[in-house]
Symmetry: C2
């Protein structure tokens, strides 16, 4: 675990926030170097698959010219959903460091143990709760602001 | 269920086969019309996320200019993996028809019930085993040919 990589993932999450996206960021590291970064662009791109991890995995594969990211590590600010955990396994990523837990739908351990499932083609180690409070606060504040905004609109409209 | 859409998915799978990819195909239907098709391109693109379903979901979203594919149905020749089942849920697809079961890693029902999980943001209905034998034979024959090829090479090389 290298704290500076989670800082970079948080920086990515803040880029998503600037675009009014749910603030989630990811960074992929191979051989001690960052090889790809990504932030959530679901709303901007209008495509449900444009999560931070997916964007980073695709960039890393293009860079390495390989769908196998053997030995790579991913730092992500939120516990990956089923789609992203599945992509991490499919891409043979070695280890996942994530920030906030996603109790409802996270697929490292909260909902289904997709990452570590020994029955799948590959299993990835993970460490959860890295800079948990900061990663979690980013998302909570985003949704709190959204709710406030929605309340204001409903008060204006008769 | 409309048999002609699974035929189109099988046709997509055969396109993958022609490119020496694991033969899996998918078709997305909305309002009774095909709005997107896709076939597995993992090896050609060298990206682990290029499964048939992912390609079709992204095409459909671009076409409808929406990450929400409410009311849409997907026909796919193989039970979706965790990544694809997660993407189907994320994209709010209404119903999934799949061909062959993937006992080891399928996430409709074989491994984890990702599609129908009431705890996630959305749940999709599914029907498995549509044209099961043909869909399954395509994949089995592909891997049998690959094994034969590998055996030949090992016999040539000392």
């Amino acid at each position: 675990m290298d704290a500076k990589f989670m800082e970079l993932a948080i920086k990515e999450a803040k880029k998503a926030l600037k675009r009014d996206e749910v603030p989630i960021g990811a960074v992929i590291v191979s051989g001690g170097k960052v090889i790809a970064k990504g932030h959530n662009l679901t709303e901007s791109k209008k495509i449900a698959t444009r999560h931070a991890e997916m964007i980073a995995i695709e960039k890393a594969s293009r860079r390495l010219k390989s769908w196998r990211l053997d030995g790579a590590e991913i730092y992500v600010t939120l516990e990956p959903c089923a789609m992203c955990a599945g992509a991490i396994v499919n891409a043979r990523i070695k280890k996942v460091y994530f920030g906030a837990y996603e109790k409802k739908s996270g697929c490292a351990e909260s909902k289904y143990p997709v990452l570590t499932d020994a029955g799948l083609n590959h299993s990835a180690e993970f460490v959860g709760g890295v800079e948990e409070e900061r990663c979690s606060a980013l998302i909570k504040n985003y949704f709190a602001a959204k709710r406030k905004e929605a309340k204001k609109i409903s008060e204006i409209q008769p």
